[in-house]
């Protein structure tokens, strides 16, 4: 238990401002509903919500004389429930499920009202969570503020995309002109004033935001550098935390060198392997389903959400912590991961008896060739799997699931493409193997720094 108070007067006051913003947002929404002559009952409900939020705001701004007894806070049972499910498996599977739901339910959640309710709920969740000391410690760090806003901004633009894409897909299906064509998008306008003024306004607003942000939050400066005192956890800059998270599953040469290279190479190759001519210059989902799903899977669950994971949920010793859990450096996590070669030679061979069980080792002082042979036999099964994955799967996929693509792409494009897909898949695959079988390495040759 932390002896720090969850609530203090200044926190309550600050939250008051957040509720005030929420109040203003919903007041505008109620007005919108009213001016669009929506059902009176609906407008009424929004009115009541707005009033409630207003009361919340007043309670916070005026209250706080005795923070210990302040009532509006995240209930303990919710906190312990959320912390209970806090582990990488739930997190990653959860974000993948949300990702799938986002695509499948795109017609539903892009309705403005649904999106508005989701926005309200997530801000409310954030505000309530802020009443927790440990949550505040990590989310309230000045360096982490942009990451929280990034979550909302990425969410907003993803929403905007799906909204426009759903609309366009319906237009295409009905044989009507695209949104981009229908709304005067193809008319020519003069750059002065239309664009120049937009730019000017944009620059003024952004400058104001940056100055306000700079006044409000002080840039972090910790103790002077000391090579002898390693902080725990030591984290890379936030935009590389997705890569640091991969280190849990792969060795540095994969997570830090090969995979980033493949990501960048893949991005550069993208325009040359996507042969689909459709969907250039307008938003659409149905016309380029595969491309969009793949790219989004890489960007949302594998990049953005791993950054969130690395920033907010990884604590000392890179252990996983729930959002309300104190970062305890002594939290114990049992790690008894097993190599595939150990499974193969110790477990399976004991049962199957095809080969003599026991890891093959070269006798001490054996010559170089014998040593190499011992290593290769020891890891033979894993090597076979990896080679098969990289070299046998592409032709197999070319004749099965990617058949149509192979025909249209041609050999070279297809090989580049299939390898990129396989490399992208290798992270989730390793994650699942780790969680399901405690698998450490598929190929483990520490002698050569070659572990996969």
């Amino acid at each position: 238990m932390s002896h720090h108070p969850d609530l203090t007067t200044s926190v309550i006051k600050a939250l008051g401002w957040l509720y005030l913003i929420l109040f203003a947002m919903n007041a505008a929404w109620t007005f919108r509903s009213y001016s669009r002559k929506a059902d009176v009952r609906i407008t009424g409900v929004w009115g009541i919500i707005t009033a409630l939020l207003g009361m919340f705001a007043i309670a916070h701004i005026t209250g706080g004389s005795d923070p210990e007894r302040f009532l509006i806070r995240m209930p303990e049972f919710v906190k312990s429930f959320i912390d209970l499910g806090a582990d990488p498996v739930t997190y990653f599977c959860g974000s993948t499920l949300v990702f799938i739901a986002m695509i499948v339910l795109r017609k539903w959640w892009t309705q403005p009202t649904v999106a508005w309710i989701m926005l309200n709920l997530s801000i409310l969740f954030l505000a309530l969570s802020m009443t927790d000391y440990d949550f505040r410690q990590i989310v309230g760090k000045p360096d982490n503020v942009p990451i929280v806003s990034m979550l909302f901004i990425v969410g907003f633009f993803t929403w905007l995309f799906f909204r426009r894409a759903v609309d366009n897909d319906e237009r295409i299906a009905a044989g009507k002109p695209l949104y981009e064509v229908d709304n005067g998008g193809q008319e020519k306008v003069l750059v002065w004033p239309d664009l120049v003024y937009t730019e000017l306004i944009c620059m003024v607003v952004l400058s104001a935001v940056l100055i306000a942000w700079g006044v409000a939050l002080q840039a972090p400066l910790e103790e002077p550098a000391a090579a002898s005192r390693t902080p725990n956890p030591s984290k890379a800059p936030w935009y590389f935390l997705g890569l640091q998270e991969m280190l849990v599953y792969y060795d540095p040469w994969m997570a830090g060198v090969v995979l980033p290279t493949v990501i960048l190479g893949g991005l550069m190759a993208l325009p040359y392997i996507d042969f689909n001519k459709k969907g250039n210059g307008y938003f659409t989902f149905n016309e380029r389903k595969f491309a969009i799903c793949t790219f989004m899977f890489g960007f949302l669950p594998l990049w953005i959400s791993l950054i969130i994971l690395g920033t907010f949920l990884r604590g000392p010793n890179w252990n996983f912590f729930g959002i309300y859990e104190p970062w305890d450096a002594h939290k114990l996590q049992v790690l008894n991961n097993v190599n595939l070669s150990e499974y193969f030679w110790l477990d399976w061979m004991t049962t199957l008896r095809i080969f003599e069980p026991g890891l093959p080792i070269a006798p001490a002082g054996a010559d170089f060739g014998t040593q190499v042979w011992a290593i290769v036999t020891r890891e033979g099964f894993g090597i076979l799997l990896v080679v098969g994955y990289l070299f046998a799967l592409p032709p197999v996929m070319a004749t099965t699931i990617f058949r149509g693509m192979f025909m249209r792409m041609g050999f070279l494009r297809y090989m580049v493409f299939s390898n990129l897909v396989l490399f992208m898949a290798c992270l989730p695959i390793k994650m699942v193997l780790r969680w399901a079988f405690n698998l450490k390495y598929i190929v483990a040759i520490p002698e050569w720094f070659f572990n996969i």
Binding site: F157, K188, A227, F450
Partner: protein, 257 residues
């Protein structure tokens, strides 16, 4: 005659601004062609090319943030000395003493923001399919800009020389140690030896090249400072020029065919 008119009528004003503020169509065209800053733009564009819901304005915002970084960065350079003796203290002084110390805050927050906006820009370009012919190459230029933006941010991270800085850079640059063949703990490095003499050691590998030493120290600070303030910004500025040039030469912002 008002003061404004008097100023606008003066020889000095007219010598700077080659054109009066344009009010009619002809002059609005001419101003775009005769002004150095505006001539980056075409004279007229399709409505869609400037619609915020289409471009999300993210490329433009990224560019603006790059300019903000340049200006605040130059101001910071007046105060900051990249040596073990001074680096930390100079940052401390920026926080506590220097009048325009807020430059550091703006520089840092704008850097974080730029990383986010460059991702969103890429996201938008992908989602509108704008990387498709004829814009493939500009996408590639964009990917290079993305990498360089991250590297700019990464090299800048070290400069305050506090615990946050050196350990983040240590964690990040430890990866280089594992580069296949080129890092001394990377697969294949052992093969590179001549007569029992290792070519790749912790004093010759990729990490050493990056850090200028076996660990993050003063030489690293110097290297990162020069990369951060001179080398990378120059390359980025050049690539941005090519990027903008190509946006126009490839037919402006993408349109439905």
């Amino acid at each position: 005659m008002s003061v404004g008119d008097y100023i606008r009528d003066s020889q000095i004003w007219k010598s700077i601004f080659r054109h009066p503020a344009p009010v009619d169509r002809r002059n609005r065209v001419v101003v775009m062609l005769t002004n150095f800053f505006l001539h980056l733009h075409p004279v007229s564009v399709k409505q869609q090319g400037i619609a915020l819901s289409y471009t999300w304005c993210m490329g433009g915002i990224t560019f603006f943030l790059f300019l903000v970084e340049t200006v605040t960065g130059v101001l910071l350079m007046f105060y900051y000395r990249p040596t073990l003796e001074w680096a930390y203290n100079d940052i401390l002084a920026l926080r506590d003493v220097t009048t325009l110390g807020i430059m550091r805050e703006i520089h840092r927050w704008a850097a974080h923001a730029m990383v986010i906006t460059v991702w969103l820009h890429m996201y938008r370009v992908f989602l509108t399919g704008s990387y498709k012919p004829p814009r493939e190459f500009n996408w590639v230029v964009g990917v290079l800009l993305l990498v360089l933006t991250l590297l700019l941010s990464f090299t800048g991270y070290l400069l305050p020389w506090d615990q946050l800085a050196i350990w983040a850079i240590t964690v990040g640059s430890n990866m280089a140690r594992a580069t296949p063949f080129l890092g001394h703990e990377g697969p294949g490095a052992q093969i590179l030896n001549i007569g029992g003499f290792d070519l790749i050691t912790n004093a010759t590998d990729a990490r050493f090249l990056l850090l200028g030493g076996r660990f993050v120290g003063e030489t690293t600070l110097n290297r990162f400072y020069i990369l951060h303030c001179v080398a990378i910004p120059l390359v980025v500025a050049g690539l941005i020029a090519i990027h903008f040039w190509r946006v126009r030469k490839d037919g402006g912002i993408s349109q439905p065919l």
